[in-house]
């Protein structure tokens, strides 16, 4: 659902969603951050595909968190290719979670990544705009 951003302060999370445990942990963490209202989960593939609406939406966000599974950094490359700069970044495999080509992801690992993303976003602090829709 497109979101009216009149209230400002839009934070975006871009997971790599890759085909490894760490990519799927990134994807699951992004879902949870969206559901709890910490950051909007945007389509990283749309950025990689240069879908203009996606690119413009990410550029218009106040804060962008790139969430990569491993140091290959596919989400970061998608963002950079789309001309996004000034983003924060979390790498799942740098949090003590070993990359494997399997999809059994542990709840504790998801929670660890969500907590790191929350901390990274709150440390950087997004600016708030004035509301207009209410």
């Amino acid at each position: 659902m497109a979101k009216c951003s009149c209230a400002g302060g839009v934070k975006v999370v871009l997971p790599c969603s890759g085909s490894a445990n760490v990519g799927q942990i990134a994807n699951e963490a992004a879902k949870r951050l969206d559901i709890e209202g910490t950051a909007k989960f945007f389509c990283t593939a749309g950025l990689g595909g240069h879908v203009s609406g996606m690119v413009a939406s990410v550029k218009g966000a106040d804060k962008v968190l790139v969430l990569d599974g491993c140091p290959v950094g596919c989400a970061r490359k998608c963002a950079e290719e789309a001309g996004i700069s000034g983003f924060e970044r979390v790498v799942v495999s740098e949090l003590g979670i070993e990359k494997k080509h399997e999809f059994n992801i542990a709840e504790a690992d998801i929670q660890k990544v969500v907590a790191q993303c929350r901390a990274t976003l709150s440390a950087s602090g997004a600016k708030k705009g004035a509301g207009c829709c209410g």
Partner: protein, 77 residues
């Protein structure tokens, strides 16, 4: 002829964006059409996740903010 589309459900910021887009087109002396896309499912077909947004000739050039007249002029040229 430039095709300008303002994507948003009609809040004050959407209206301001439409005003700025028209002012930019007039300042550049170009012919244009302006369409307000207010239906949420039509907006989402552009891949836009935040509004208000502006599309120039079908390409979204800004989303989630109201660019200035000068910024829109550079998006059109």
């Amino acid at each position: 002829m430039k095709k300008l589309q303002v994507l948003g459900t009609g809040c004050p910021k959407c209206k301001k964006l439409a005003e700025n887009a028209e002012a930019a087109a007039k300042a550049l002396g170009i012919e244009y059409t302006l369409e307000k896309v207010t239906n949420i499912s039509d907006i989402m077909k552009f891949g836009v996740m935040t509004t208000p947004a502006l599309a120039v000739d079908g390409v979204v050039t800004s989303a989630g903010k109201v660019p200035s007249v000068d910024e829109i002029k550079s998006m059109m040229s």
